[in-house]
């Protein structure tokens, strides 16, 4: 029989340390759904989503029952809608977002990603129409998530798109002002976006992907924190070993679930995303892991080094445990979704500048950051530009998900509830970047040698 200590360790990780499968995300290609008639295209999209994802929630629930593993989210990612809707004559793509929303509701998933555009080098007519539709689309739908890739290491940064995204984010906040600008939490601006990420809001089904795949996002900050508790005061070599071992076990569980789900659904297995994704629940925080390493508060000096170690060790431990690893894979540091991050901001330990530094060594970027509602579109664009530059130069994914909270200022907070949590308003630099953003054009792709 299996060793009782191993059985108890698994049960402890699931029960006390809140280990779970964070998401099973089905990626569906919509490339064959395009039509010059928008209504026909939308019918194709709706029917295809329902056909492939009709059993998704049921299968996930069966796996939960069989293994007693909580599977928190069941989601869908689609081919970037700008490419699919582009063939239609519609000037505005809001109806496409509404179709996504309806399809998601009918198959029972909480979010559907892929109202997206890839514009790192330039706009097509579909990209332009999609981005223009974003404020209304995100205000009128509940489940639709959007992402726009504005930079890559190979193409540089599209600064026209960066400027547009600043204005669009402000507008989305206005359109959803009744709810603290929640629409902005459903839009991610990316550099080097991965095409197989299962996590929202940035998930979409990349153009190199197959017809339909299952991608699984694992989590488990609580399990990593507990593992670190057992090596209190020990050197970093032991810290890294301990994180690697935990990440290995967590990922093996993800691999089992992914394999099972793809077999039951008759769909190929895509990737496991080895991310430590926090939630606002107590004990599910990445900030607390960093603090467990010996920092009084997340955000103090040493935080970047701690995060670098964590991010790397998670990947090293997880890679061997899965046949295919992809997505964002690393540690997420969303402010509003992590109780430890929220507290660090409130105590004055964590600033926007420090978060920016942290994004150089972790898997995403400035995530779920609330800033004063009066922050100008140009400043938001400049914040995006900085983050994109970090991604472009360092050959990594970076992202910005920022909420200029309408009518709110320093000392206040936005409250979204549920998985989105709450975020204290963070201070932005008061000096202007307007002329910088007004230039437009493209920042050229960087040199990848002579690296100093």
């Amino acid at each position: 029989m299996i060793n009782p200590y191993e059985i108890m360790e698994t049960i402890r990780m699931l029960e006390e340390e809140k280990l779970d499968i964070r998401t099973i995300t089905m990626g569906i290609s919509l490339r064959d759904c395009a039509d010059s008639d928008g209504d026909k295209a939308r019918k194709n999209i709706y029917d295809k989503i329902c056909k492939y994802a009709g059993q998704l929630v049921k299968v996930a629930e069966e796996i939960e029952l069989k293994y007693d593993i909580p599977i928190i989210n069941k989601r869908i990612s689609l081919t970037p809608m700008a490419m699919v809707a582009e063939a239609s004559d519609d000037d505005n793509f809001v109806k496409f977002a509404e179709t996504m929303d309806r399809a998601a509701e009918s198959v029972g998933v909480d979010f559907i990603g892929g109202f997206s555009a890839l514009v790192h080098k330039g706009y097509t007519s579909g990209d332009r129409r999609l981005i223009k539709s974003l404020p209304e689309a995100l205000a009128t739908t509940k489940r639709v998530c959007s992402s726009v890739n504005v930079a890559t290491t190979k193409a540089g940064i599209n600064m026209d798109a960066v400027a547009d995204m600043g204005r669009i984010i402000k507008k989305i906040a206005e359109y959803t002002a009744d709810n603290d600008g929640i629409g902005c939490s459903k839009l991610v601006v990316f550099a080097n976006v991965p095409e197989d990420n299962p996590f929202m809001a940035g998930a979409f089904h990349g153009i190199g992907e197959g017809e339909c795949v299952i991608n699984v996002g694992i989590s488990g900050p609580g399990a990593v924190k507990s593992a670190l508790k057992r090596v209190k005061g020990r050197p970093f070599d032991e810290v890294a070993e301990s994180i690697k071992k935990t990440a290995f076990k967590i990922t093996r569980m993800g691999q089992l679930v992914a394999k099972e789900a793809s077999e039951m659904l008759g769909v190929s297995f895509g990737i496991i995303d080895l991310s430590l994704a926090p939630t606002p629940a107590v004990g599910d925080s990445v900030a607390r892991i960093l603090e467990e390493m010996g920092l009084e508060r997340c955000g103090t000096h040493g935080t970047t080094a701690a995060l670098a170690l964590l991010n790397d060790a998670v990947k090293k431990g997880g890679v061997m445990a899965s046949s295919h690893v992809g997505g964002l894979s690393g540690a997420f540091i969303p402010v509003s979704e992590d109780a430890g991050m929220i507290e660090a901001v409130e105590k004055g330990a964590l600033s926007l500048e420090k978060l920016e530094a942290m994004t150089c060594v972790c898997s995403v970027g400035l995530d779920m950051i609330a800033v004063p509602g009066k922050t100008s579109a140009e400043t938001i664009s400049a914040i995006i530009a900085d983050e994109m530059a970090i991604g472009m130069i360092n050959n990594k994914t970076t992202a910005v998900r920022i909420i200029p909270a309408p009518g709110k200022d320093l000392g206040e907070e936005v409250v979204f509830g549920g998985l989105f949590g709450r975020a204290p308003i963070m201070k932005v630099n008061p000096f202007s970047s307007t002329e910088f953003i007004a230039r437009g054009g493209r920042i050229p792709a960087p040199l990848n040698s002579l690296r100093n």
């Binding site: 029989m1 299996i2 060793n3 009782p4 200590y5 191993e6 059985i7 108890m8 360790e9 698994t10 049960i11 029952l65 069989k66 293994y67 007693d68 593993i69 076990k249 093996r252 569980m253 691999q255 089992l256």
Partner: protein, 89 residues
């Protein structure tokens, strides 16, 4: 399918009797059983074969959970592969 049943909590009379009764009623065969004190908790671990189960997995789990509640212990039933995959290469 083979599954692991774990019973964790305070030790008391009749735990094994009650759990094995439910399993017998459901035509579930017990392949192995062990009982120990781990981390200060009474822990019983059973390896069972669900090949000939006469109810749904959901019904069996529900019965076990309910009897666990009446005994003041936590009872879980999980496919053995979760433990194998997490701890064995």
């Amino acid at each position: 399918m083979r599954a692991i049943i774990t019973v964790i909590g305070m030790d008391k009379k009749g735990i094994i009797a009650k759990v094995s009764n439910i399993l017998a009623e459901s035509d579930v065969n017990i392949l192995d059983i062990s009982q120990t004190i781990l981390d200060e908790y009474f822990t019983m671990i059973m390896l069972v074969d669900l090949e000939n189960i006469n109810s749904t997995l959901e019904e069996l789990k529900e019965k076990l959970i309910q009897s666990g509640k009446s005994l003041g212990v936590s009872i879980k039933l999980q496919h053995e592969d979760i433990f194998k995959s997490m701890h064995r290469i």
